[in-house]
Symmetry: C2
C-alpha cells in the first residue's frame, strides 16, 4: 500500500510560463501535525526522487532519505510533521509533461509550460493549504530541493520560519549548466526520443537516458572517492579484458548498473523540464540582485551545508549563499563537510550528515 | 605547403595487440640536428592534436603549441632539433583505424589492433632511426603525450636523457576512465557510427562526436574558469530566452562552437582507439609495481608539471608520479601551477607555462 497522497487542485495553477488546469500534487507525510499546526517540516527533493523520502507503516519500503527521517532520527517524527512533495513537472504522481492534459485528453509532453523552480515552490502552497498549515517550521531541500526551498522562503516569507539548504546554491553556475545542457542534448539526440512523442507505455529514449544518467553519476560523485573505491580494478563482468568497447574496468560496471536502474523509472520529458528549471534558477531574479532579493526573507534562522568534494555545487556556492543571507537572517550558519562522495554525499555520507541535520533540529 | 613528413616504415610494426604492415608515421621538425646528433627534443601529443605543434617556413599556420616552440621560445629551436610525431592510431598522417590496410586494400576500421600507449611510444623509434638519432635530449608530452613520453623512457632508457611530463600521470584513474568510457559510448550510440563502418568520405557519427567533444571540453576546463568567464551570461545567438532546448546561456554557445570545429576534423574510430589506449595505460605494467617499473629508468633529470584546477589528471597524480620517480631519478622536480583553466592550461595559460618549460631547458 502506497503512502503517497494525491491531491488534485480544485483551481487552475499559474506557472511563470503558463497555466495548468487543476494539477495533481503527490506527497507523503510522517509524524503528526500538532494542535498549533506549527510543527511542519516541508521537504523539497532533488531532480530525480519521488515523495517517498522515508518508510512508514503504510509503505515500509526504504525511502531516499531513510536515515534522516523517522522516530528518534535527525528529523524526528516524534516532534515534527514532515511533508515531502513530488516536484511539479516530475513523474511520480505530480502533474508533469508525462501527465494527461485534462483539457485535451492528450499527454502534455512538450506542451507543458517551461518549468521554473519557483513553480515547484509555489505548488507546495496547494498542499499546505489543503493541510491547513499556515506556516512551516522549516523548509528543507538538497540540490534542486535547496533551490526550491530558498525560492519558497523568498516568495512566501510569512509561511516559513527556518531554512535548511544542503549542497545547493542561489543560482546555477556555468559548469553545472554545461553538464545539464549536455545531458539534455544526449537525450534529445536519441532517435527514440522522437521530439518527445515516444509511446507512453514504452521507455522512449533509453540509450539517451542511460548515457545522461552516467554523466549525472560522474558529476554527482568525486574522483577521490572513485580512486579509493575502484582504482584500476577490472570488472568481473568482463572476461574479455582490454576490449575496446566492452566493460573493462569496475568503474564502468558501476556506472552501467546504476544507469540501468534509472532508465525506465524516470520519464525523459520530465527529466528535460526539471533539468532546465535548475539552469534557469537565479535567486537574484527576485529583486534584481542577491541582496535585494534576500531583503525579502523573514527567517529566524538558516543553515547552509556544503561538501568540499562537490563539483556540481561547489562549496564556494554555499559560502556565497550564506554570506548573502547573513545581513538579512542574523542566525545564518554555514557548515562545510569533509565528505568525499561529492554532490551525492547528503544521500550516502550519513555519518557526517546525520549529526549536522540533528543539530539544526 | 605542409611541413609534415610522411615516413613509411620498410618493416612491419609489432604492436602489443597485433602486427601492422609497414605503417606510415607523420611528423614535423623544427630547428637543426647538431653534428653530435644529441640535441633532439621528442614531443608526443595529447589525444587530438596533429604533429603541427608550431609554425615553420614550410607551414606558417599556427601550431597547437605555437608559443612554446621556436627561435628564442621556451623550447628554443636555435638550440634544439624538435620532432613532433602524430600518434600511431590517429588520423593526421600516421597509420590508424582510418587508414588503408595494405594487405586487404580496405580501411582498417575496427580491425585495427587494440592500441596501447606503448605502441605509440615504440612507433617513435621508427622516426628516430630514420633520422639517425640514437638518444634524444628530452622526451616531452602533456596529457596522453605525457603517458607516451613516460612509456618511452621506461621501455627505451638508453634513448632519452631527460623527461618533461605535463598534466599527465603514471596511470589512468577511474574518474578519467569513466569520462572517456562515456564519451566512447556516446559515439557508438550514434546510429551513424554503424559499428565503425561509416563512409570514409563522410563524417560518420557527427552527433556522437559533437556530444563527446562537449563532454571533453567540460572535463578539460574548470568550473572556476567558466564562472569568471561566463557567469550566467545569456547567449547572443539565442533570441528565444528560457527556451527548453535551444542555446540559452553563453557557456552553451561556447561548447557548441568548439564542438562544431572538432567534428569532421577527427575520425571517430581513431578517437575510440586513442581514448581507450589512455584508459589501459598503467606504468606499473612495466615491472609489476610503479617502483619496479621506474627502476628501469635511466634519466638524468625529470620535471613533472601539474595544475591545481585539473580534474582529469588531478595534481595528486603528478605528485604520485614525481614521488615514485624520485628514488630512481635523483634530479626529479615537481611543479604545481595555479592555472585556473584545468587540464587544458598547458595550451592556454602560456604566461605560467612558458617560464616553467623555459627553466627546464
Amino acid at each position: 500500500m502506497s503512502a503517497r497522497q494525491h491531491l488534485q487542485s480544485k483551481n487552475d495553477f499559474l506557472m511563470k510560463g503558463g497555466i495548468l488546469t487543476q494539477p495533481t500534487l503527490a506527497y507523503e507525510t510522517w509524524g503528526q501535525l500538532n494542535t498549533q499546526r506549527d510543527n511542519c517540516i516541508l521537504l523539497f527533493t532533488g531532480l530525480s526522487p519521488s515523495a517517498h523520502a522515508a518508510s512508514s507503516p503504510m509503505d515500509p519500503s526504504a525511502g531516499w532519505w531513510e536515515d534522516m527521517i523517522g522516530d528518534n532520527k535527525p528529523i524526528d517524527t516524534h516532534r515534527y510533521f514532515v511533508v515531502c512533495i513530488n516536484s511539479l513537472g516530475s513523474c511520480f504522481g505530480s502533474t508533469g509533461p508525462a501527465s494527461e492534459n485534462p483539457i485535451t485528453g492528450a499527454l502534455y509532453r512538450l506542451d507543458f509550460p517551461v518549468l521554473r523552480v519557483e513553480d515547484i515552490a509555489n505548488s507546495a502552497l496547494v498542499v499546505l493549504d489543503h493541510l491547513n498549515i499556515e506556516t512551516v517550521n522549516t523548509v528543507v531541500g538538497a540540490s534542486m530541493g535547496g533551490m526550491t526551498a530558498l525560492s519558497f522562503a523568498l516568495m512566501h516569507p510569512q509561511r516559513c520560519r527556518r531554512l535548511l539548504s544542503i549542497s545547493s546554491g542561489s543560482r546555477s553556475q556555468p559548469y553545472a549548466i554545461a553538464l545539464r545542457s549536455l545531458q539534455r542534448e544526449i537525450i534529445r539526440s536519441d532517435p527514440l526520443w522522437q521530439q518527445g512523442h515516444y509511446a507512453p507505455d514504452q521507455h522512449g529514449p533509453v540509450d539517451g537516458m542511460r548515457l545522461a544518467r552516467k554523466l549525472g553519476m560522474i558529476s554527482y560523485r568525486s574522483a577521490e572517492e572513485w580512486q579509493g573505491r575502484f582504482g584500476r580494478e577490472r570488472s568481473s563482468d568482463s572476461p574479455d579484458t582490454d576490449n575496446l568497447f566492452g566493460i573493462n574496468f569496475e568503474v564502468e560496471s558501476y556506472l552501467q548498473n546504476h544507469a540501468e536502474r534509472f532508465v525506465g523509472a524516470f520519464d525523459a520529458n520530465c527529466y528535460l523540464y526539471l533539468s532546465r528549471a535548475m539552469d534557469l534558477f537565479d535567486a537574484a531574479d527576485h529583486g534584481g540582485s542577491l541582496a535585494a532579493s534576500f531583503a525579502h526573507l523573514s527567517l529566524e534562522s538558516a543553515l547552509v551545508v556544503g561538501v568540499k568534494s562537490d563539483t556540481l555545487f561547489p562549496l564556494q556556492q554555499q559560502e556565497e549563499l550564506a554570506a548573502a543571507m547573513q545581513p538579512f537572517v542574523a542566525d545564518t550558519r554555514m557548515c562545510a563537510l569533509d565528505s568525499i562522495q561529492g554532490h551525492d554525499s547528503f544521500l550516502v555520507d550519513m555519518d557526517r550528515f546525520r549529526p549536522t541535520v540533528a543539530d539544526f533540529f
